[in-house]
Symmetry: C2
Subunit: 231 residues, 2 copies
């Protein structure tokens, strides 16, 4: 609820935890700041929301400016509003996570002006981050870890055609545990949200695996039904 609209001396920003999956590792995109405060520190990509744009729009814009990619799966997950999270004044930040298909090609459109570079870094190997960005990252990671248990967000991270082993590896890195191959396949195939293709993996020096596609139509039907607690 809001009544008067006093001018308010605060700033609004977006920060993004951008996930990618490559070489069997879960990575996030970090930028190196080239301005104070936290000059030369690693940080989550983010920027200030403009006066005349929605926060969702700002999140998409920031992602686009950094990666050149549009139409990416993004989801707002938490807003961080402690008084002293920014050393220069009050900054409230809305955090989003995004998922990007890396497809082996890690090249990104080059970068806005506040960062000297952007790189993909494995979530197991993160440096210290600027501001409260470690907290933001943790919360985002936790969020997708929970979410993957009941929603097939994994498919946003994989190439369009993938093998079951790749899918399993992705689950394993997100959940941080080994899964049983047979049980995993049984469960996944039972969902009925995978389309088996007539195609096989190429360029591997061993038996090639079948490729699969994610069937979005069937997924939507399946996951509309509510969860847990039957009659």
């Amino acid at each position: 609820m809001e009544t008067l609209l006093p001018k308010f001396d605060s700033v609004f920003s977006i920060d993004c935890v951008i996930f990618g999956f490559d070489e069997g590792e879960l990575k996030i995109l970090l930028i190196e700041r080239n301005e104070e405060p936290f000059k030369d520190w690693w940080a989550l990509p983010g920027y200030i929301v403009e006066q005349e744009e929605s926060i969702d729009h700002a999140a998409e814009r920031i992602l686009y400016e950094l990666t050149g990619l549009r139409d990416i799966y993004m989801d707002q997950f938490y807003t961080f509003g402690d008084v002293n999270r920014h050393p220069q004044g009050r900054v409230i930040t809305v955090a989003y996570y995004a998922m990007i298909r890396l497809n082996g090609s890690k090249e990104l459109k080059p970068i806005s002006n506040y960062a000297s570079k952007a790189v993909w870094i494995s979530v197991n190997d993160l440096p210290k981050l600027a501001f409260d960005h470690e907290k933001i990252f943790s919360r985002g990671f936790e969020k997708i870890r929970n979410k993957i248990s009941y929603q097939p967000i994994a498919f946003e991270l994989l190439p369009e055609k993938f093998t079951l082993t790749q899918l399993q590896q992705l689950y394993e890195v997100i959940l941080n545990k080994k899964l049983d191959k047979r049980n995993f396949r049984k469960k996944m195939l039972n969902y009925g949200i995978l389309k088996e293709l007539d195609e096989k993996q190429k360029g591997v020096s061993y038996r090639a695996a079948k490729l699969y596609k994610f069937d979005k139509r069937k997924y939507t039907r399946l996951f509309q039904k509510e969860l847990t607690f039957g009659k």
Copy 2:
């Protein structure tokens, strides 16, 4: 990520979806606005975040000013940042839900100055709301509906001592479906997070039911373990 700190012409508010359970109905607290815009409309309780307070603190403060209650279960669930959600300018609002033990006594501390009254209204019987508050409510309701499936938030809504039937009724109104009594009890008691008391319901004109308490210690141990996807 934030660099410069331009003065920014926007306002930050908190809106709260405050749930209570009474007479077998799930209710939320609404206020009647006495100022423009939306004068005389029903709205979610909310207010502007102050310069020097965290958003969590603001949420607690607003709840306190409205109800006189502290130490209430509150959780941030979404931030609404469309450009035109407020007719008089840019207002970004962080939404929280809260859960209150009504205990039959619905009286609240009287109210801040922007509202002429506050009342509990059944979620099945909501009027039109100011701003985008219907959207905010829906999202909050959805949130607790999901959450109750894996976390015992229901206990925040019940009196300290409650019967299994009351607990079941609460699940039923939140999930909006009938549950089987025997299965429900079996499941709940199996969790081992309920303490059976030596006490019975009083003042009923039929066989009195046993009272139970929620065992927070046991709960914490139980729900630390992660969910889904075994080996």
